[in-house]
């Protein structure tokens, strides 16, 4: 039984890493700051949650489990706040999001 | 063991490369802040060399584990008993803790040097108006020439 839980945990961890890589690719491919912030912060918090759940299954009841939850709480608290502040700062300093407007070339080509 | 023989020159080589690169930036960059960053890389690379000496293959962090704790058994399971008997302490193989203590000091010394260096740079920027090394030496050369002219 313990072995099975361990394996489920490992699968969750691999899923989290997959999500993280997807986010990274998104940050590279997306046209402008706002979509990149979107990609980065969504996948970071998602990957953190999946990873924490997976490792919790593997750690069982131990001090490490409590620390894992603390790490999860901190990431949940800081990552969205940082993303919000970043988007606010970018908007405040005059960056316009690339709306679905064919006339306006995306930032990378400009 | 062949893996270790391949990795050894590679890892030391990277450490010495960081030393040479840090030294190059510290000696040649025209922007004073980048010089300090180069100096920081040079000091950190000295730490890399020490930590490379401390690693024991199969060893774990120098925080003593109870011999019978689950973590110790999991670690022991991936090494053969002779290796643990020869190089382990109370059934667990640890890496060498001494370089870790020394590098804690080196990191703090690096931060202290960086703080004082940046304070001097802020003062230089306020008196000379620039942080470009060559502009500053040009300013000083001209000041020296003015002194000589009004003396002659």
């Amino acid at each position: 039984m313990a072995e099975a839980i361990g394996w489920i945990g490992a699968v969750l961890v691999i899923a989290a890493v997959g999500l993280s890589i997807a986010g990274a690719v998104g940050v590279l491919r997306f046209p402008d700051v706002y979509t990149r912030i979107h990609a980065a912060s969504i996948t970071d918090t998602g990957a953190a949650s999946l990873m924490t759940l997976g490792l919790l299954l593997m750690a069982g009841f131990s001090p490490a489990a409590i620390k894992l939850c603390i790490v999860w709480v901190f990431i949940m608290l800081t990552s969205p706040a940082a993303a919000h502040a970043l988007a606010g700062a970018a908007f405040g300093s005059g960056h316009r999001p690339v709306l679905a407007d064919p006339r306006q070339p995306s930032e990378d080509e400009a | 063991m062949t893996l270790a023989l391949v990795l050894t020159p590679y890892v030391y080589g990277l450490g010495f490369f960081m030393m040479a690169a840090g030294l190059l930036i510290a000696l040649t960059s025209r922007h004073l802040i980048k010089r300090l960053i180069g100096l920081g890389v040079f000091q950190t690379s000295a730490g890399v060399f020490y930590i490379l000496l401390s690693k024991v293959s199969g060893g774990t962090a120098a925080i003593r584990l109870e011999a019978d704790s689950p973590a110790a058994e999991a670690l022991a399971s991936r090494l053969d008993a002779a290796y643990i008997a020869a190089h382990g302490v109370d059934g667990v193989v640890y890496s060498n803790p001494l370089p870790h203590v020394l590098i804690l000091t080196a990191i703090v010394v690096g931060a202290a040097t960086l703080a004082v260096g940046l304070a001097i740079i802020v003062r230089i920027r306020e008196t000379y108006g620039t942080v470009d090394f060559e502009e500053i030496s040009a300013l000083e050369a001209r000041a020296l020439r003015d002194v000589r002219e009004d003396e002659a």
Partner: protein
């Protein structure tokens, strides 16, 4: 569980991979043309270096590298970079030639001695087989703290750590001498050039108000936990300073200075180092050597204390209390010095900026 563990060889490969990432960042640093990119690369460099230290079984060093390197160094680098031009002028190739050859010669010279150095991860190398092993075997009998690194740092080589705390204090004295002139008292703090603020976003101030007490509590946990897991006086001091810096970043330096004026911070730095030296003098008064924690408690008093379970009942209360006392001194000195340095940089820059802007 063991199936999932990485084999020792895999660990060596991972550390080599991470070191390659670190070297890649150094190459990027060589070519960087803007100071702010350099600072960002330096922050990433510290984070990756700390990761590499984790694979090299050095959690304490990873802790310090992350908090000092990525945390405080980035702050003061930004403080200084704000007041200077961002573009890095490129060097005329003529002048680059000689230092580049010198550094290359140094690199080749060092590479020649690699065959003579111990093999990477070799348990029988002189450092690991001699003093390193002695520390691992002696610590339970002499000190009884599970974390051997903290035991060596605080007790065996406590004099080194006293010197280290003095280095941080000397840096604090130096920065306050150079930049501290204007930030004497809270009202002399820089008047804030605030933009015509419409409804500011409360998200950050709420997040900060929630996080700052947790970070301070965590700093004291790291201080107390130093003997059992990764942690200690330095790391705790830097985390406490990071909490104060967060408060200064979100609520403005003037608010933080009202809470902790520069005079108090400067006095705490001196008191931290004095506290450390006082523990040493107390040991001398009790008949032991300088910084000999066994002499701190009189044997009669120590006999009454419960024996610690880990070290087979051997009484180590003198060492335990000595280590905790000096770690508190180190934390006080490091936290207040880092805060004083942050005050000096931010207090100074906004004034010249304000002067520049008007």
């Amino acid at each position: 569980m063991s199936l999932l563990l990485a084999s020792p060889e895999l660990e060596l490969v991972f550390s080599a991979l991470l070191l390659t990432l670190v070297a890649g960042l150094v190459v990027a640093l060589l070519a960087a043309r803007s100071v702010l990119t350099c600072i960002l690369l330096m922050s990433a460099f510290s984070l990756t270096m700390a990761l590499w230290l984790m694979t090299m079984d050095a959690p304490d060093v990873a802790f310090t590298e992350a908090s000092v390197g990525a945390g405080v160094s980035t702050m003061i680098l930004l403080g200084a970079a704000l007041s200077s031009t961002d573009v890095i002028p490129s060097l005329r190739p003529g002048r680059l030639w000689f230092p580049a050859v010198a550094c290359l010669a140094a690199f080749i010279g060092m590479a020649l001695i690699v065959p003579d150095l111990p093999v990477f991860g070799d348990p029988g190398s002189p450092p690991s087989a001699y003093v390193g092993r002695l520390y691992l075997e002696q610590t339970p009998h002499d000190i009884g703290a599970p974390n051997v690194v903290t035991a060596v740092l605080a007790s065996y080589r406590g004099f080194d750590t006293l010197g280290e705390t003095t280095v941080i204090f000397a840096a604090g004295v130096g920065v306050l001498l150079l930049l501290g002139g204007q930030v004497r008292s809270p009202d002399a703090a820089p008047e804030d050039v605030s933009l015509r603020a419409s409804a500011g976003s409360p998200v950050l101030s709420v997040a900060a108000r929630l996080l700052i007490p947790i970070i301070c509590l965590y700093a004291f946990y790291v201080l107390a936990h130093g003997e059992f897991g990764a942690g200690g006086g330095f790391q705790a001091g830097v985390i406490l300073a990071a909490a104060l810096i967060l408060h200064a970043l979100v609520f403005g330096v003037r608010e933080t200075m009202k809470a902790l004026p520069v005079g108090v911070v400067r006095a705490c730095a001196a008191l931290g180092v004095l506290g450390y030296a006082a523990v040493g003098f107390l040991a001398i008064l009790n008949g032991g050597r300088f910084l000999d924690y066994d002499a701190l408690l009189s044997p009669v008093f120590e006999a009454g204390l419960p024996s610690s379970h880990l070290a087979g009942g051997h009484h180590h209360w003198g060492q335990r209390i000595g280590i905790l006392a000096i770690e508190t001194g180190v934390m006080l000195a490091v936290a207040s010095t880092m805060t004083a340095i942050f005050y000096a940089f931010t207090g100074r820059v906004s004034r010249s900026d304000a002067a520049g802007a008007s």
